[in-house]
Structure formats: C-alpha cells, structure tokens
C-alpha cells in the first residue's frame, strides 16, 4: 500500500473488481483495481481461471497425440501453436521438411496471423466504443475461416500441421480462392485505415496512453507487435529465419511515434495494421513460389526422440511463442513449457497501470492483445 499512500495522500482507496466476466477482459480474467474515483493507483491481474494444465497433460500424451492439444493453447493462434510444437519435436528428431510443406506452413500461419489481427484490431476498436470496424473485420475473417475449413476441415482449432509436415495438400482451386481473397482484402486494409485508424476519437483515446519504453518492454519480456511498438526492431521471421521465411521479402513495422509516443497504445494498434499488409505481401510471394513435391517428411510411426532438450520459437501473432521440450528418450515428453506473448503482456500491466484511468485500462488490455487461455494454459 505504500505506493497508494504516495500517489493519493490522505485519500481513501476504493478496491474494485473488474472481471472475471467482463466484456473488455477478452476471456475469463480478473483485475483488482485500486482506485480513487476514475484514477487507478494500480491494477493487479488475477489469472488462472482458464488453467487447463496443458503442460501436465503433455507428460501423459505421445508426441503426436499432444499435437491437437496445442490448438487449445490459444484459439486465435492455433497454427502457430501447432508449428512451434512440431518444430521442437522435429529438431529433436533432426527431421528436415520438404520445401512444399514449409511453404504450406507459412501460408497457413500468415493466414492465421491475418485472422488474429482482424479480431484483435476489431476488439480494440470495439472496447473503445466503435462497434462498426469489428463487424467489418469479422466479415473478412469469415472468408479466412472458410479457407481454413477448405484446407483442413476446421475453422478454429485447425490441427493442420503434423510432425514432419502438414496434413493436407492444396489444389489450384484453393490457391485461386486465396489469391482472390488477397485481391479483395488489401483494399479493405485501406478502408479500415480511413474508417478507424486515423479517427480523431480513437487517437484521443490511445495516443500517449500507457507508454512502455523499449527498455521496460525488453525487461518484462514483451514480444512481437507490443515489443516493436516500443521501438525495438526485432522479428524472429527476419532475424532468426525458420521455415522458409528467409526466402520471402517483407518489412518489419516498428513504432515511429508519428502521432503519439513510441510505445503507446496507438503505436501498438498501428503496428498491427501494418503487419497485416506485410502478411498479405508474404502470402502473395508464397503463392508465386510454392514449390511442388511432398508435404510430409519421413517420420517414424512411433516417435521416440533421443534424450535431450530443445527450445523452439516462432513469431506468432503475439510475438515469440516458445516451447521448451525435454525428452527422456521415451515416447512421451518429459517436460514441456509454453512461453507465450500474453503471459508477458499481462505481467507488465501492474507496472504501467499507475495513474491510468479505468477506461484507459481497457485500451491497455486490448492493445497488448492479451488472450486469457494463452496466459493460463
């Protein structure tokens, strides 16, 4: 309570509950707010409502059997969760993938990134009171869901990737549909920009709010768009290329602070919009370069990696998504740990919440793109 006394001398604090069921907390997540009127002295996140023990469950599953569980880590990022787990096992097995499988993984993941950013940007706008952009973006996401359904039969928890490759090949008709979607969607991003990104009310609500400096972002382990919005130029796809990202060209959007400050809520919003354009660019190159060939490497039917440990990471929609996997030589993982972007994003909120308005907290949660199931696992 010492900081409370300092900020509000001789004033009584009101302790408020926000959540666990609150439309702005993006899942079942609770905040304990210490407030004086509208101003908070701190907001303490309380998580664990969606803890499903996915790390413990891994210890009882075979390596291939755990793959469908990874979809449930984060329902908006299923492809990335599939990919990082598959990559960890492949590195233990020393399997390398046929090029077509790598490209199909890239296509699936970038589509997933688009779908995730659409929901995330729509939710930010909705949480700040603008409902229309959400509806526009959900309409676009519906097309992606249809593409995913045609690709692997599932709309949300895709389970498209397999250890050593992908489950299904694509045909020309599907690739044509994807190209058609990109032709349609790229102008929609411009439309979205003119609709909401540079909207005066949105700028007033987000610019200069909850500024996270680059140093803090690194110290608290922020990753992905949240880190780049704070001015740290880092993207695993470009800097430590995995899959076939070394063969495609794209830019990494970094917060510039043109309207507000580097590291504020608005930057986190703008970086995500810019990432959608880059994802479209990557998808177009994948379509042009997609090689022919196998979609699955030779992997033993009974997967028994040698004794060892590996840390695999991919640039998910929320940044570095990591898996630390220890094998003891049996057919089940000995220990598996998920390192997720939401976990880091949520842990910084108590640090930055001091002096914010309650309404600003909504913008902070939304722009950090926190997803409760990913935090709790």
């Amino acid at each position: 309570m010492s900081d409370v006394v300092e900020l509000f001398p001789d004033r009584e604090q009101l302790v408020l509950n926000m959540g666990p069921h609150h439309p702005a907390t993006h899942g079942v997540l609770r905040f304990v707010l210490h407030t004086d009127g509208e101003i908070m002295s701190r907001a303490v996140p309380d998580i664990g409502y969606l803890h499903r023990g996915l790390e413990k469950l891994a210890e009882g599953q075979t390596y291939a059997g755990y793959l469908p569980f990874t979809d449930r880590i984060n329902y908006l990022e299923a492809m990335f969760c599939n990919q990082v787990y598959a990559m960890a096992v492949e590195r233990l097995l020393a399997v390398s993938l046929p090029p077509r499988a790598e490209y199909l993984r890239m296509i699936a993941c970038e589509l997933n990134r688009l779908a995730n950013h659409q929901i995330s940007l729509g939710c930010i706008a909705m949480d700040l009171g603008a409902f229309t952009p959400f509806v526009y973006l959900v309409r676009e996401r519906e097309t992606i869901n249809d593409l995913m359904e045609a690709l692997c039969g599932n709309r949300l928890t895709h389970h498209y990737l397999r250890i050593g490759g992908v489950a299904f090949d694509v045909d020309d008709a599907w690739l044509g549909r994807l190209a058609g979607f990109l032709d349609h969607f790229e102008p929609v991003i411009d439309e979205f920009d003119s609709l909401i990104t540079y909207n005066e009310i949105l700028i007033q609500r987000m610019a200069n709010v909850a500024v996270i400096c680059g140093e803090d972002a690194v110290a608290f382990g922020l990753v992905g768009p949240n880190l780049r919005a704070s001015g740290v130029d880092w993207d695993l796809r470009r800097d430590l290329p995995y899959s076939a990202y070394g063969e495609v060209e794209f830019d990494v959007p970094v917060g510039q602070g043109q309207i507000g400050t580097v590291g504020d809520c608005l930057e986190r919003f703008i970086v995500r919009v810019a990432e959608m354009r880059q994802s479209c660019r990557i998808l177009r190159q994948c379509l042009a370069k997609l090689p022919a060939g196998d979609i699955q490497a030779k992997v033993p039917r009974l997967i028994k990696p040698p004794k060892g440990e590996v840390y695999a990471a991919v640039e998910g929609a929320r940044g570095e998504l990591g898996v630390y996997l220890i094998s003891d030589g049996s057919n089940k993982p000995y220990r598996l740990k998920w390192r997720t972007g939401s976990f880091a994003g949520l842990s910084i909120i108590e640090h930055i919440s001091r002096g914010l308005m309650i309404a600003d907290l909504v913008a902070v949660i939304a722009t950090l793109d926190v997803i409760a199931p990913e935090t709790d696992r």
């Binding site: 998580i47 023990g53 110290a219 740290v232 840390y311 390192r339 842990s347």
Partner: protein, 168 residues
C-alpha cells in the same frame, strides 16, 4: 561468444564451477544454486554477455536425482546470442533467490514455478499463487503428484467413474 567461452567467463567471475550439459538439442550451463542470482546478474550486466531478455524460466522435476531444476532461457538482442542456464536445488528444500530484481519478467514465471513445482523463492516481491487457487494442496507438475478425490472441497471425479492413475 560460444557456450564454452561463456562458461569459462562465468566460472572465473563467480569463482565456482560451471558445468556444461549436453544431450541432443540445446546445450546448457549448470551453475551451483548458491551462485544462481549472481550468475544471472553477470549474464545481464557483463558487456560481453548482455542478456537483457529472459525468454522463459522453467522448473523441471527430477525425482530420480532428488532435485528440482530451474532452467532460464536467455537472449541478447544486441549481441544476438542465446544461453540456457540452469541450476539444481534439493527437492525437499528448493530454496532459491528470486530473480525478479534481475529481470522483472521472472516475477510471474517464478510464481508459477513455486506453485506448480514447489520452489521457494526468497525475497520474491509477490509470493502469492498465480494460476492455482490459494490453498491448493501439492505441486501438480511434480512427477509423483496424484490428484485427490476432492480439491478445495469440490469432487474431482464423477460418481462411479474411476479414471486411470487417479488412485489415492
């Protein structure tokens, strides 16, 4: 710097033995638990190491060795190198200094490791449970953990249904 050079440098600065551990996959350095925080501070502050980013901090139960392991994955954005640093503590008295003052990101990872594996972190700024409810018995990520028939007064099994391995 490669792993052996980092190991030699840490060993010299700490005045303690730093061992290299390697199976398939990522090699790691193991430091004595008495020098854990000091080693982490060096990793962060030495100009030649500059590990500012704690990617992950993970506890591992090793019942056959009677110890709990804590594994830190570090990354330096400036020098673009990685390090896996680990330490071991006895399973029944796993006390380690908290790294929250070294990397604020460690705060939540340690809270998680404390409740799920039974570490005790000294000088931790906020040693409450993170994921499990207060009052939860046992440490679920230990290998010998068995869920009871009730948890916090709520039955965990359906009547007439006995899941595999849920005995005791």
């Amino acid at each position: 710097m490669n792993l052996d050079e980092i190991g030699a440098r840490l060993s010299k600065e700490l005045g303690a033995s730093v061992t290299r551990q390697e199976d398939v996959g990522d090699p790691s350095l193991c430091v004595p638990s008495t020098h854990w925080k000091q080693a982490c501070l060096l990793c962060r502050d030495l100009e030649a190491l500059d590990f500012r980013f704690l990617r992950s901090l993970c506890g591992v139960d090793r019942p056959e060795a009677g110890s709990l392991e804590l594994v830190a994955h570090l990354w330096s954005y400036r020098l673009r190198h990685a390090l896996v640093l680990r330490t071991r503590a006895p399973r029944d008295a796993a006390e380690l200094p908290s790294l929250s003052s070294v990397w604020p990101a460690a705060n939540w990872h340690e809270r998680e490791a404390a409740e799920l594996l039974g570490f005790r972190f000294l000088d931790h700024p906020d040693p409450r449970h993170l994921i499990l409810p207060e009052g939860w018995e046992g440490h679920p990520l230990r290998k010998d953990y068995r869920q009871g028939k009730t948890a916090l007064g709520i039955p965990t099994v359906r009547p007439g249904y006995e899941p595999e391995g849920a005995a005791s």
